[in-house]
Structure formats: structure tokens, C-alpha cells
């Protein structure tokens, strides 16, 4: 008779699951070689925003926390680049990355502590007030943060051109993707899942759920900040808009369209959002209207997301 952990562990299936990842990775690596720079650009933007969506889903899909203010971390990453590189303080990519992670970690620890004092809708509201706090602060603090116009003068790290920058982002994405995968599969991730499924039960099993949610919040913040950092390097600007609710809205929509029960879902969903945004914006100015309609359509007809429906179909 197999021992208990063996019967529960799904290790044997791991090799089977590696295959799709391998294929997707090969595909993404070869994109610059076979497609136009337009497509490469879209993929790049998708990958950057995926940092935001995946981390957003770490909170929503895996921990049951809906954070409206997730853009706070995106903006922090972006402004770290703006203040260090845009102002000419340093050119060292790794130093900037390190500082972004450190600063975001601290701010997340502070925000998370306060936000997690509340539950449900109020948690969502409080996190929104955090991103808005940062947004209005950077808008007013013109001397330091460039005010409404933000910070510019940001050169790409290692003076990379667009294609090489794509590879940098791709590598970063893959690394973070697997870190998150490991996190979710770990003990820590399982408990987060339990908290999402039934927090009161988890408490009655003796777990201090607050600690888990707190760390999830901090990790999610750090991952989103990396995305914001990469986007500031790409676009060459850090602006107050980076803290806006509309940024968080993109993460949310991407997560929903792709499916919040899987790690890759938000990535796919983000691709859809980025693609639609680019495509539709060439025909009309009313992208906001379309995106709003997408929200409503998704919640009415398409709640499980792409991967959600795939999973259901797989089980038949």
C-alpha cells in the first residue's frame, strides 16, 4: 500500500505538464525572429503587464483577496526607475531592481498591515485608497516626482534595443513565473488556497490566516513592482497614471478573461486585453467604452475565463 503522501502527491504528472510550457516558451522565444516588430511589441507589453496580472491573481484567485489598489506597486516600480534613472542618479539595472523590490516590500508591508485589518469589499476599498494616495501624492509633489508630467529621460538598461529588451523581459517573466509556480505549489500556497476556499475553517484548524495573507500581499506587491519597473524602462516614462484604478482594472480584466484558477490564465487574458486595446484603438477613440463592455460581458457570460472553461472541458 502506498504511503499517504505518495497517494496525494502528483509528482508523476509533472513531466506531462512541462510539455505545454516548453512549447509556449519556444514560441515566445522565436517571436522576434518570425514576426513583425509590431507583434513583438505587443508580446513585450503583454509580458510586462502579466507581472501585474499574475501577481493580482495571486491575491484574487489564490488568496481570495480583491485588491483595487494593486497599481500602487506597479507605480512604485515605475517611479523607482523614474527617480533613479530618469534623474541620472544611477544606471545600474540591478541596483535599480533591488531598490524597487526593497522599497515596494516596505510599502507593501505597511499598506498590507492596514488593509488586512478589514475584510471583503472594505479591503478592496482600502487598497484603492492606497493607490490613490500615491497617485495624488506624485501629482502634487512636482519638485521630486515631476508632478502631472511624471519623470522622463529613462534609458533602457544596458542600452538594449527593442528586440534584446524583449528577451530581457521574457527571461524575467519566465523566472518570476516559475517562482510563483513554486510558491503556489508549496505549503504556503496550499494554505492560501484553503483561506480562499474557507477561511473560517482554516482558522479552526489552527492557522493564523493573517500571516499568510500578509506575505501574499507583500509578494504580490513585489512582483507587480517588477512589472512596473520594466514598463518604465520600455516606455521611458513614469507617470501618475501608473497608479490609476484603470491600471488595476486591466489586471482584473486580464485575470478574469484568462481564468483566475490558474497561473497562466491571467497571462493569456492579458494578451487578449493588450491585443484588443491595440487593435480597437486604431479604429476608435472609445476604448474605455469597449473595455467597460468587456467587463460586463465577461461577468455575464464568461465568468470562468478561458482556462476555466478549458479545465471544465478537460474533465468531461
Amino acid at each position: 500500500m502506498k504511503s499517504f503522501p505518495q497517494r496525494v502527491n502528483k509528482d508523476a504528472k509533472r513531466l506531462v505538464w512541462m510539455l505545454p510550457y516548453g512549447l509556449v516558451f519556444a514560441l515566445m522565444v522565436s517571436i522576434p525572429a518570425y514576426s513583425s516588430s509590431y507583434i513583438t511589441g505587443l508580446m513585450l507589453i503583454t509580458l510586462m503587464y502579466a507581472f501585474g496580472s499574475m501577481s493580482f491573481n495571486l491575491l484574487l484567485g489564490y488568496s481570495g483577496l480583491l485588491s483595487f489598489g494593486h497599481a500602487y506597486a506597479w507605480g512604485l516600480g515605475s517611479y523607482t526607475v523614474g527617480m533613479l534613472v530618469g534623474k541620472g542618479i544611477t544606471d545600474n539595472f540591478w541596483l535599480v531592481l533591488g531598490i524597487a523590490i526593497f522599497v515596494t516590500g516596505l510599502v507593501s508591508a505597511f499598506f498590507g498591515f492596514l488593509a488586512l485589518r478589514t475584510h471583503g469589499v472594505y479591503f478592496s476599498f482600502i487598497t484603492l485608497s492606497f493607490s490613490e494616495l500615491l497617485r495624488s501624492s506624485v501629482m502634487k509633489w512636482t519638485k521630486v516626482t515631476g508632478g502631472e508630467n511624471g519623470l522622463t529621460g529613462i534609458r533602457r538598461p544596458f542600452a538594449l534595443d527593442e528586440t534584446s529588451y524583449y528577451y530581457l523581459v521574457l527571461v524575467g517573466f519566465v523566472v518570476c513565473f516559475f517562482i510563483m509556480k513554486w510558491l503556489i505549489a508549496s505549503w504556503f500556497g496550499k494554505i492560501l488556497n484553503g483561506i480562499r476556499e474557507n477561511e473560517s475553517r482554516i482558522l479552526m484548524l489552527g492557522y493564523n490566516t493573517w500571516v499568510y495573507k500578509y506575505f501574499a500581499f507583500i509578494f504580490a506587491g513585489i512582483f507587480a513592482a517588477i512589472g512596473g519597473l520594466l514598463s518604465a524602462y520600455y516606455y521611458g516614462i513614469a507617470a501618475p497614471d501608473h497608479f490609476s484604478l484603470l491600471v488595476t482594472g486591466n489586471f482584473l480584466l486580464g485575470t478574469l478573461i484568462g481564468g483566475k484558477r490558474t497561473l497562466f490564465g491571467p497571462v493569456l487574458g492579458t494578451a487578449v486585453v493588450v491585443g484588443s486595446n491595440n487593435y480597437i484603438s486604431t479604429y476608435t477613440e472609445h476604448w474605455l467604452l469597449i473595455e467597460g463592455a468587456m467587463f460586463i460581458l465577461v461577468v455575464t457570460f464568461f465568468k470562468k475565463g478561458i482556462f476555466g472553461y478549458i479545465q471544465e472541458w478537460w474533465k468531461r
Partner: protein, 283 residues
């Protein structure tokens, strides 16, 4: 003297906030509905109030049009959407979508310009009491705020409708079994909340103006009011509005560079010490 002016500003801002926050709070605590687009109603009412006010040269027309429009929108949102979407997450996503749509509408029709509604001529002066000068309009706004606060409190605590609403949230099946059409009552509350948002929007646009982003700005304030005042209690919204009104106005007076810092500071302190808000209930 300047102190009194600032206090009036704080109180009138508090009144505007309360008118908006009360609707949000009613929907949340009484009907368990999350409506993020409530701030959008404020913005729309402000813009509509401006346009109608300009066209008809009448503040009254502006007010009436603004309020009826938002009340109608609320009515439709309840009938078409909230009746079927009872889950919080669904409501959040839905109203998120509405925020985008309303923003697009505002951008298209008013091009994102900053507009103010003109106060009515009879109220644009000041009155002198005991040697101090009080702008009439602000006094009126404060008066309206107090009037509405009293009315809502009476409705919630003292009337049959209020009791029915509270009962309906807890046990809608039971209430329906008693022969009450709970859906009709919910629609009524919704429409009323929408009307209040419209009132807040038109009045607010006289003082603060209407602009793209006002929807989110005022929503944030309303949210902070509800959270610190006491999760979901009307009295909490009243206290919260006054507190935030003062925090914002006096904060702006002393430290204009750190926008809203006092507001967030108050929120942080209260969250850290009393997470369920000043008047909230802990279970």
C-alpha cells in the same frame, strides 16, 4: 474669521460627501450591494447640471435634470443588472465596467473639461450674522445635508419601510412570504441612492466642479468615510463625513503639497486602532 470660513468649507464638503456616501452605505449595508459606479453618477450629474444650467440659465433646472438622470440610471441598473447579480465579486466587476463606460461618455460629451455649475442668483451672496460673513450657498448645502441625514435616519429607524428593508436583507424569502414585494422596495432604495448621488453631484459641482476623475476622487472619499465612520452604518457615514471634511479642508490649508494626507492619515490611524470604524459593530 478665516477659521470660520474654513469650517464652513469643511462642513459643506462634509455635506456633499455625506450625500454621496449615504447612498453607497445604504446600498451596501441595507441591500448588500456594491456599486462602484456611484462616484460616476456624481460626475455625470455635475456635467449634466453644468450643461443644463448653461442652456436653461436656471439652477433649478440643472438640479432637477441632474437628480432625475442619476435616479433613472440607478433605477435601470437595479432593474437590469443588480436584480440578477447578487454576488459581491460580480457586482464589483459589473460596476467596474460601468465606471469605464460612464467615463467614456463623459469624455465624449464634455471632452474632459473642468466645469462648474453656477449657483442660483438668490444664493450667491452672503449673509451677515454677528459681524461674520457666511456665503449663502454653502450654508444651504450644509442645511440640505443635515435635512437629508435626518430624513434618512428617520426612514431607517422609524418607518415601516425602513424595517422592511432591513428585514428584507436578512431574510428576503420571509418578507416575500408576508406579501411584500421586496424587489420593489429595493428598487426604491436604489433610485433614492441614485437621486442622492445626483444631488451631491450638482451641489458639489458648484463648489468643487466636475471633471474626468471626479468619479474616482469622490468615490475614494466616500469609501474612506464609510470605512472610518463605521462599516455600513448611516450614523457612521455622518460622523465620517464630518471628520473627513475637516481633515481634507484643513489639511489642504496647512499642507497643500501633501494632498489628502490628513485624510489618509486619519484613515490609517483608525484602521490601525479600530478596524471596524468609529461607530461600527464588531461581531
Amino acid at each position: 474669521m478665516a477659521l470660520i470660513i474654513q469650517m464652513l468649507n469643511a462642513l459643506s464638503f462634509a455635506a456633499i460627501l455625506f450625500l454621496l456616501a449615504s447612498g453607497l452605505c445604504l446600498m451596501l449595508s441595507l441591500m448588500n450591494v456594491v456599486n462602484l459606479a456611484h462616484g460616476s453618477l456624481y460626475m455625470l450629474a455635475g456635467y449634466i447640471g453644468y450643461s443644463v444650467g448653461q442652456w436653461a440659465d436656471s439652477f433649478l433646472m440643472a438640479l432637477v435634470t441632474g437628480i432625475s438622470t442619476t435616479a433613472l440610471i440607478s433605477f435601470l441598473m437595479d432593474r437590469i443588472f443588480f436584480r440578477y447579480f447578487k454576488d459581491h465579486l460580480e457586482q464589483i466587476l459589473l460596476t467596474f465596467g460601468f465606471i469605464y463606460i460612464f467615463q467614456d461618455v463623459a469624455r465624449t460629451l464634455w471632452h474632459g473639461n473642468y466645469h462648474f455649475v453656477s449657483a442660483p442668483a438668490i444664493l450667491s451672496g452672503s449673509i451677515h450674522i454677528l459681524g461674520a460673513v457666511f456665503p449663502m450657498f454653502r450654508l444651504c448645502v450644509i442645511g440640505i445635508g443635515v435635512f437629508v441625514a435626518l430624513g434618512l435616519w428617520l426612514l431607517q429607524e422609524k418607518t415601516k419601510i425602513g424595517a422592511l428593508i432591513r428585514a428584507g436583507v436578512d431574510d428576503s424569502l420571509m418578507v416575500q412570504a408576508l406579501g411584500v414585494d421586496i424587489n420593489r422596495i429595493f428598487t426604491l432604495v436604489f433610485t433614492m441612492a441614485g437621486a442622492l448621488a445626483g444631488l451631491s453631484g450638482v451641489l458639489g459641482s458648484v463648489l468643487i466642479g466636475a471633471y474626468i476623475g471626479a468619479d474616482l476622487d469622490i468615490l475614494i472619499f466616500a469609501v474612506v468615510v464609510i470605512v472610518i465612520g463605521g462599516l455600513g452604518t448611516l450614523q457612521g457615514a455622518m460622523v465620517g463625513s464630518v471628520l473627513i471634511g475637516f481633515a481634507e479642508v484643513f489639511g489642504r490649508a496647512f499642507l497643500p503639497e501633501f494632498a489628502h494626507f490628513f485624510v489618509y492619515g486619519v484613515m490609517a490611524v483608525i484602521l490601525a486602532t479600530r478596524p471596524s470604524g468609529l461607530l461600527g459593530r464588531t461581531s
